[in-house]
Symmetry: C2
Subunit: 311 residues, 2 copies
């Protein structure tokens, strides 16, 4: 559970802190970690609600099926683990119990098959009018490969995979009815960095890692808080084909945000490209303290826009 998701009803994490943990790590990362000795399971859950996270007249059933799986396995991949299984709960109004449900499941299956992910549980139920989807993703990794938000070190380079901003540009395109742009389609059909996440998990020079679900301006703060460090980010280094605001504060890119030992960056980026075809870009570095500094061509600048907030 990410910290703050329950903030509207007080600090639930504190409330439950005194109960036995039974081998599960306390809250703070993309996933909970369950210790099995040499290996660990990582487990994450996310809920998608019609008219909050998707609109049925814009996103197809297949696109919702893809996204439901991807936003969840992205959390698993961001810990350096391999996604192995999901549980799927669906609450469906009558209007979605036939063709919609079939198209949803076909795509959910196709994406599961692509990565060899089992479906091991679930629930289906009626709903009065809107669709609600809950997915639980379970991953597995050697315990020493698991990457945490708390592992950033002063001097690390702050890096991102791929390019940022396409999903939030696409959200805007969809909102204005431009549903056929590349960005609009990318927004509706997220892809998690499954191969890259597991691969980066095996590399010791990768310290902290998480997925970019709310935009780097918001997500870097989780690493800063959990690692008790500051960060400096150079806006001109952020890889994007779109307006820098989309790239910095746009949510749902599902790229990876990681901190890397600075002497190992060149080798790591080269090896990641060779192994997966995905670029790794350094956009800043980890500092002492607790401040986030933005640079524009080396000059400190104020960021006049904040990270995307779900709900």
């Amino acid at each position: 559970m990410k910290k703050g998701e329950f903030s509207f009803i007080g600090d639930i994490a504190t409330m439950f802190a005194s109960l036995p943990h039974s081998g599960f790590e306390p809250i703070g990362d993309d996933c909970t970690v369950f210790d099995m000795g040499d290996d660990a399971l990582v487990i994450s859950t996310d809920m998608l609600v019609e008219d909050v996270h998707f609109l049925r007249n814009i996103s197809s059933a297949a696109e919702v099926g893809c996204k439901s799986l991807m936003v969840n396995i992205s959390d698993v991949s961001a810990m350096g683990a391999k996604p192995v299984a999901t549980l799927l709960s669906l609450s469906l109004p009558e209007s979605a119990q036939g063709e919609w449900a079939e198209a949803f499941m076909r795509e959910y299956y196709a994406q599961s098959e692509k990565y060899g992910i089992a479906l091991v549980g679930g629930d289906t139920t009626a709903s009065r009018d809107r669709i609600t989807i809950n997915v639980v993703a379970i991953g597995r990794a050697a315990k020493c490969n698991i990457k945490r938000r708390s592992a950033a070190k002063v001097g690390d380079l702050v890096c991102v995979t791929g390019k940022l901003g396409i999903s939030s540009k696409g959200l805007v395109d969809n909102m204005f009815g431009d549903t056929h742009t590349a960005a609009a389609k990318a927004h509706r059909r997220a892809q998690a960095r499954v191969t890259e996440g597991e691969w980066l998990g095996t590399r010791g020079e990768v310290h902290a890692m998480m997925d970019i679900s709310d935009g780097i301006a918001s997500d870097i703060k989780h690493i800063m808080e959990q690692s008790a460090v500051g960060a400096t980010i150079e806006l001109s280094a952020v890889p994007t084909d779109y307006d820098i605001r989309y790239a910095v504060t746009g949510g749902e890119d599902y790229e990876l945000l990681l901190t890397v030992d600075k002497d190992s960056f060149d080798t790591l980026a080269h090896d990641l490209m060779a192994a997966t075809g995905t670029p790794l870009t350094a956009i800043g570095h980890i500092t002492e303290g607790s401040t986030l500094i933005w640079l524009d061509q080396g000059t400190p600048t104020e960021l006049s826009f904040e990270g995307f907030t779900h709900f």
Copy 2:
């Protein structure tokens, strides 16, 4: 995942059967089982939807919080495992984001504390108008203690814990506005057989086990199908304080339905009572074949009512 819950969109279990299982057992029981060597995790998920599973003007937030946890850990207990952790996803309309959410969480915490169950993950999101709750329950057991629906043997006694029918009598009371009867309150505040389930898991003379969520008339068929056996049940032996129809076809009692080696029944019932204070009643026996026979005082009878069907 229970078989049939996805029947409206075809046989999903078959669709996913060819994907790697990664240590998870195929679908068929209350929970999926994850093999860890000597021990196993069992994992189950259930979704509760406002105006389908509960009405906000009848069930209090605390009652919904209690029920959300109990229906899930009941599945874990029915496998003979100890519930150790849950993940909770909440989709809340504005009208439920303040006091309702706080009262819900206080009771969810109180029930978790009672059994020492950690909260290890979750998600919260907005909703346009109705509340949706998804809970994942995780249990742990020695692998040899896990009870499956497929383990019934010809000659076993069919047994139930406690008394049946109070929840469905309470559902009717609530529907007619009699919200203050003992049955009405029991319906709104389900209690899983947590202690009994784990205790029964340790006893080798217990063969098949599951929880009674849809009524024994419906649930016994899962054991029959998975174990490839028949059953004979004596209606006059079914323990209830209410109309036999409530006791046989009423859902949501969350008592345990189990099959027991017949020579061990007396000792088992005595020991269960001594350990937990809960009675165990034999109501029939397992037969060869695939037929379910109902007896009324020893005379075969037709059951003119069927098990409760959720959606």
